[in-house]
């Protein structure tokens, strides 16, 4: 485009986009998508400024689901915050529980028995499986393929949720991890059911990939859309599959080696282009790696106590200090930062939510694309508004 005196530049965060304003091109159009829009994955609003069909400015508006989570955490006991963490990212309550339990265990120096560590890995990988499967389904929904892939994903997710329900009592609000172990010891039938599911999941992923991965329409809709470079991703604090899709090898399971992850052999899939298609592929490949971790964990799980016998359930009064516990959640780095002043409640309770941080780049990804592409890009970021708004 050639700049002319009659076409002023429009300032937007991170980039300058030229909008032509003359008699031929007409005015810019501002449209508001959401907060009640099925494509926004909850109550999220995007105010998009369009030049013709191209987005020249996009302002995300969130906070509609704000529940004062961090302040609530400062006013409840350490144990009392555990069920609230389920409600952050309600697809992945098991990993939220783990991140919070890890932070508190660091704060009070609480060891975790071996069996509990294995159970945590098994549950975290099951969570990753169902999150990534669901994400692929949601992404297809955003592409306009309404129904079929999402229903197949939900059919498989049900099996994992059934496992969660029979173990923890609830399908999504699991509230399962405790400081120093887990709440219920999984019986051998449960582990057998998990083994059966793990063995069958690969076949489902094969079928799912036959349905989607080489589909020409999907490739046309997603390849080259919402490209993200590794420098911008690292500088913006992007984590999780979205970062790995840009080719940066950063997986907290490898970097921190928290829990017992160093014992398992698994690969970290990396993307080459950082576009929406890569983000979809990373999820499918990570799901396959999760199956391999699950196989190893379910093979080696030892007998023993599930809870540290010395662990205190209630009346926790950590010594003054601070701790940050983070894990590789399905959406990225989920971390809890706690400051204790010696009282039963944390002095400060702060969450580092992956969805929220990943969402900050939405405008940079969407600039120059159409509104239909913005919906697909938002779907590929994988947000859950419960976690964005907290």
């Amino acid at each position: 485009m050639i700049e002319s005196p009659s076409s002023p530049l429009i300032e937007s965060a991170g980039s300058r986009v030229r909008a032509v304003q003359d008699d031929f091109h007409g005015d810019l159009l501002e449209i508001s998508m959401g907060p009640h829009h099925p494509s926004t994955h909850g109550v999220f609003r995007m105010i998009a400024t369009l030049d013709g069909e191209a987005i020249v400015k996009l302002k995300p508006v969130f906070g509609y689901l704000h529940r004062n989570h961090e302040k609530l955490g400062e006013n409840t006991t350490y144990l009392g915050s555990m069920p609230y963490t389920d409600r952050l990212d309600y697809l992945n309550s098991m990993t939220n529980n783990w991140a919070y339990a890890l932070a508190v265990e660091k704060l009070i120096g609480q060891p975790v028995p071996e069996r509990a560590e294995y159970v945590r890995v098994i549950l975290a990988e099951l969570t990753r499986l169902q999150n990534h499967t669901c994400l692929a389904g949601f992404l297809m929904q955003d592409c306009g393929c309404s129904g079929t892939p999402l229903m197949y994903a939900f059919r498989e997710r049900e099996k994992i949720l059934d496992l969660f329900e029979s173990l923890s009592g609830s399908r999504m609000m699991c509230n399962y991890q405790r400081f120093g172990g887990c709440r219920v010891d999984p019986p051998s039938e449960w582990l057998e059911a998990a083994r059966r599911l793990t063995e069958g999941y690969g076949a489902f992923l094969d079928e799912y990939e036959a349905l989607l991965t080489r589909n020409e329409i999907l490739m046309a809709r997603t390849q080259g859309v919402g490209r993200l470079g590794p420098e911008l991703a690292v500088n913006s604090g992007i984590t999780g599959p979205m970062l790995r899709a840009t080719g940066v090898a950063y997986d907290i399971r490898k970097v921190d080696g928290y829990g017992i992850y160093p014992r398992f052999t698994f690969r970290v899939p990396l993307g080459a282009h950082g576009d929406t298609y890569d983000r979809y592929m990373i999820r499918i490949l990570e799901a396959r790696e999760s199956i391999s971790i699950l196989r190893q964990a379910l093979k080696d799980i030892p007998a023993g106590p599930i809870m540290d016998p010395k662990a205190k359930l209630r009346g926790l009064r950590p010594k003054p200090g601070e701790a940050y516990g983070r894990i590789e959640g399905p959406k990225g780095e989920i971390g809890f930062y706690l400051i204790s002043d010696g009282s039963p409640n944390p002095y400060r309770y702060r969450i580092r939510p992956p969805s929220f941080v990943n969402l900050t780049l939405l405008e940079d990804l969407c600039l120059g694309h159409t509104v239909a592409d913005a919906v697909v890009i938002l779907g590929s970021i994988d947000i859950v508004l419960g976690e964005v708004d907290r």
Binding site: L79, P83, D162, E165, S166, L167, G169, V184, N215, L313
Partner: protein
Amino acid sequence: MLGTGILKGLAVTARNLTGSFHDPARFTTTQYPEERTVLPDNYRNFPFLVSDDEKDPMGTLRCVACQICEKECPPQCIYIEKSKDKKPDANGKMQIYPAIFDIDISVCMSCQICVEVCPFEAIKMDHEFEIATSNRFNPLLLNREQLAKPNTYFHRIRPTEAAEVDARLDAERKAAEEKAAAAAAAAAAKASQAAAAAKAPPPAAPAKVPSPATLEAQAKPAAERPDSSAGGIKTQA
């Protein structure tokens, strides 16, 4: 060739469509009000109060109004008021009981923390989930009469856990009985010693009178308990 990916995908959907007519793995929907899935034992919904006797639920509540659950409940949906008087519990010990025990289940988030912190196995999670009402106020605020459910019901919904709980309570009761019996024997021995030392019958009487009475008070509920728990185990079988 352009279009093979789409054709392959269509083959997958065709396989799923035809499979849904004969393969239960491909047709997983449960027609809810007519068909029901079996709830797992661990399923939790809202809390209920365990009472030992079906005929007298208010008299045999295990709750002693210690208010730990009220303090620990994260959304603070439990309201307890202690009684002024005392009643004997299952071990025959005089305990206060909840004069008011309300749970607002429109606030309750089914987190099970009240169950975990209860030292008396008095509150457990229910399997009842069809509790929708058209009124958002009174029907969702449950008082202790509505919350109380017999131990046999607990055995029906969670046989394994209920059997464990009963075994634990029985062991506790036995220990308490032995302790009481030992204390009574010691008291009796002391009394007879005192009587022998005094060689006069009147002073022995006041020392002897309370010990059979306390023994009886301890023995009576204990005799009731094994019956109810045995009945529960029978329903489980």
